[in-house]
């Protein structure tokens, strides 16, 4: 049974595309045939993060409009045979995606793939709404920062009311919290919301914590998902996330104990 996972956040710049790239690569590396779709029509970037920007011929919108078939548009990753990328279109037409068109593509992918990862654009406009509409699971990428946490909460509300599962009264989308750009030393000083704080505010299950890391910029510079840079903390953190998602019991790393000051003087 294929699972469709949306990587979403509401707020921009929190690490959705970075997460989509590494998460889908991780699933593929674990032996699951995985397709990752860029829903950010007009602002395509997943291809760049995955290093296949020069191999884009057809895109998601071409497939929806039947100007190309799915196999022509899917780009097979050169590092992992199980990973396929469906790039976004660079069109400025806001209505290029439709609920029926997206549904048709996802149905077709389901016949061939174990996992479909949907990389959502920021915001709550059409692209973001369609990215989450068909999801079975949602990974909410959140930074330990007020505006990101608020937007994540808003996104949770949308997931529970505007998705296909909610409309058809099916079991709700499973929601997982992924905290990114986490800096335990700042948490310890009381300058940054802790994992526990964010979990408490959003009341969500924690999928993982990705520490703030220089390696992520280096990886995007090189067009390589950071999960492939095995020795780095970020790579290990993403690997843990994938393993945990696949049902392994992996202890949380990269979280130091909650800030001493925060606990003593916390309101």
């Amino acid at each position: 049974m294929t699972r469709t996972i949306v990587i979403t956040s509401g707020k921009g710049g929190v690490g959705k595309t970075t997460t989509s790239a590494s998460f889908s690569m991780g699933l593929a590396k674990s032996g699951h045939k995985t397709a990752v779709i860029d829903f950010d029509v007009g602002l395509r970037n997943l291809d760049l993060i995955l290093g296949c920007e020069r191999r884009v011929v057809y895109d998601f919108v071409n497939v929806i409009n039947e100007e190309a078939n799915l196999n022509q548009a899917l780009i097979r990753d050169k590092r992992c045979d199980n990973l396929f990328i469906l790039p976004a279109s660079q069109t400025r037409d806001k209505d290029a995606l439709s609920i029926e068109g997206v549904g048709k593509v996802i149905d077709e992918l389901k016949q061939d793939f174990d996992y479909i990862v949907c990389d959502s654009p920021a915001g709550i406009e059409k692209g973001a709404m369609l990215a989450m509409y068909y999801a079975d699971d949602a990974i909410i990428v959140t930074n330990p920062e007020v505006s990101s946490v608020r937007d994540s909460d808003r996104m949770l509300g949308i997931l529970s009311s505007k998705s296909r599962r909610s409309e058809q009264n099916e079991e709700p989308i499973s929601e997982y919290l992924l905290l990114t750009r986490y800096d335990p030393s700042r948490v310890k000083k009381g300058d940054m919301l802790s994992v526990e704080d964010v979990q408490e505010i959003l009341s969500m299950d924690l999928l993982g914590v990705i520490p703030e890391s220089q390696d992520i910029l280096n990886a995007s510079n090189a067009g390589e998902p950071v999960i492939l840079q095995g020795k780095t903390n970020a790579a290990q953190a993403y690997q843990d996330v994938v393993d945990r998602y696949l049902g392994e019991d992996v202890p949380q790393r990269f979280i130091n104990q909650k800030g001493f000051l925060g606990r003593l003087f916390g309101g």
């Binding site: 920062e145 007020v146 946490v149 608020r150 909460d153 808003r154 509300g157 948490v187 000083k189 009381g190 300058d191 940054m192 919301l193 802790s194 704080d197 408490e200 505010i201 959003l202 800030g259 000051l261 925060g262 003087f265 916390g266 309101g267």
Partner: protein, 101 residues
């Protein structure tokens, strides 16, 4: 910030301030999410249209509110009718009429 403030150990960390603000905000937004179903604005508009057939009211004088308790929902409709004073004293009624006309 004075030097004294700097040494005051009771100053809350910025993270705990953030947490408190977010908790209040999220609780507020959740309560709004529950009490304001998407049909409410349309309901209000249509009610206003019906009432306007019989009484002239100001759209701001009408409130539609849905409250949720543990086991019941109350749809609260409050309309303040324009005061009928204009019919009684002669002095005041004229300017009111003029303003309306």
């Amino acid at each position: 910030m004075s030097l004294l403030d700097f040494f005051r150990t009771t100053r809350p960390s910025s993270a705990s301030v953030a947490k408190e603000r977010l908790q209040i905000l999220v609780a507020h937004e959740h309560s709004q999410r529950k009490t304001a179903p998407s049909y409410l604005p349309k309901l209000q508009k249509e009610l206003l249209a019906v009432i306007s057939k019989y009484v002239q009211i100001n759209p701001d004088d009408m409130r539609v509110n849905l409250e949720q308790n543990d086991h019941e929902e109350i749809l609260e409709l409050s309309i303040s009718l324009p005061d009928e004073k204009q019919e009684k004293p002669h002095k005041k009624s004229t300017p009111t009429h003029r303003r309306r006309g």
